[in-house]
Symmetry: C2
């Protein structure tokens, strides 16, 4: 199996190898008052450039536990509604010095989560990122892509939305994460049919400029669920 002694080539991984955990944490936030909200990433300022939050794996933790711990301890971010593996970045020269393999995670934080960050941390719009350390820009790009794709066939938006929301607000979240407009009325139909969102029976307050008060909806689950598993080639029946 995998532990068999020496092998014939290419050195040995047991000396001078570091595994770091990096998290791409997204939140949809109002960056300007009275503007459409934007998708943002959590970054932390190191000496020269901005970087993704992360650190070393704990000896008694899985990687996802490490990711959660590092976000809580260093960033004071505790309301990560969804965390999933993104990818491993393993180019031997991705970071100078000791060989460092990055196991990366996507974290999603709802819009209504408290956001009290330490001084060196900040949210940045994904469309206006500062200069980033090492390959961190690639990692963010991969995370964005993954989230956008999953919005289409899973209930992943549960982790970006607040507990209760009008459909117009959910539509803005989709729009921010996808990068293009979505029709609010059709979004409701699709998510209802798939039993992703349910009506709560309550209604919200009407805005400052008038208008009908919106019905409030909620996600049926708060765990990732694939809602459209077979785009094609479904099993018979």
């Amino acid at each position: 199996m995998s532990a068999e002694g020496s092998d014939s080539s290419a050195g040995d991984g047991s000396v001078g190898l570091r595994v770091e955990v990096l998290s791409v944490v997204f939140q949809v936030r109002e960056t300007q008052p009275d503007t459409a909200p934007a998708l943002c990433v959590l970054l932390t300022k190191s000496s020269d450039a901005w970087a993704l939050p992360g650190g070393d794996v704990g000896a008694a933790e899985t990687l996802s536990e490490s990711a959660r711990r590092l976000l809580a301890d260093k960033m004071d971010v505790r309301k990560v509604a969804h965390l999933e593996q993104l990818s491993v970045f393993s180019d031997p020269h991705r970071v100078p010095g000791i060989r460092t393999i990055a196991s990366t995670y996507i974290g999603l934080v709802p819009t209504d989560a408290p956001a009290r960050l330490p001084a060196e941390a900040a949210w940045h719009e994904v469309d206006a990122l500062p200069s980033l350390a090492y390959d961190h820009a690639d990692i963010i790009a991969a995370g964005r892509h993954r989230v956008a794709a999953k919005l289409s066939y899973t209930n992943i938006a549960f982790a970006l939305a607040p507990a209760r929301f009008p459909m117009s607000e959910l539509s803005e979240i989709y729009c921010a994460a996808l990068g293009y407009a979505v029709d609010t009325t059709n979004l409701l139909r699709i998510l209802s049919r798939r039993a992703v969102v349910v009506s709560t029976g309550t209604v919200g307050k009407t805005g400052r400029t008038g208008g009908r008060p919106p019905a409030l909806y909620a996600f049926a689950d708060n765990e990732l669920r694939v809602t459209d598993e077979f785009a094609t080639l479904r099993p018979p029946m």
Copy 2:
């Protein structure tokens, strides 16, 4: 960023940490003559149980390069038409002894690849697996699931099919990987519309029991391509 000195908890990852690469290599193979072919995984026999092929990361390699090297050197499998990251398995107790994190890969081998294996290696039907080491059964299950899902919205079958094939043969490959029958005529229509397969203009030989000689098709690309990116919520226009 991620390298900042000490942190407050849970030990340190720089001592006693091993990263292994494990590959779930699939091939669709005829296990019995005159039977439908079945999806098989490449396993290697260790002292007590069967295990996935793999080993340590080389110092100057990315993980995918390590995976390819280990398959070539130890298993003599060199025709891996597609290799992609599966997932990282990081439970601290997944393997006894030194902490071992497994970075896993999916490898796909076409049906027409030469299959000359070393003595300790063998192909096993995924539906009749022997007793497996550690968490290797979970890893295989995850790999199967991933491949089945991707058959539906990518051209991933290019890496399982031979260079040229009649549609009936491709249909058998899909059937083996998905676990249920697919309609051959509809499969052609779908894959043609998406420009995944193209007709080669050539025809094959008719079988031993008679029948019309089949047209031979080929995949348009031999690289993974997402063919059905937006199951729903497509961008406008």
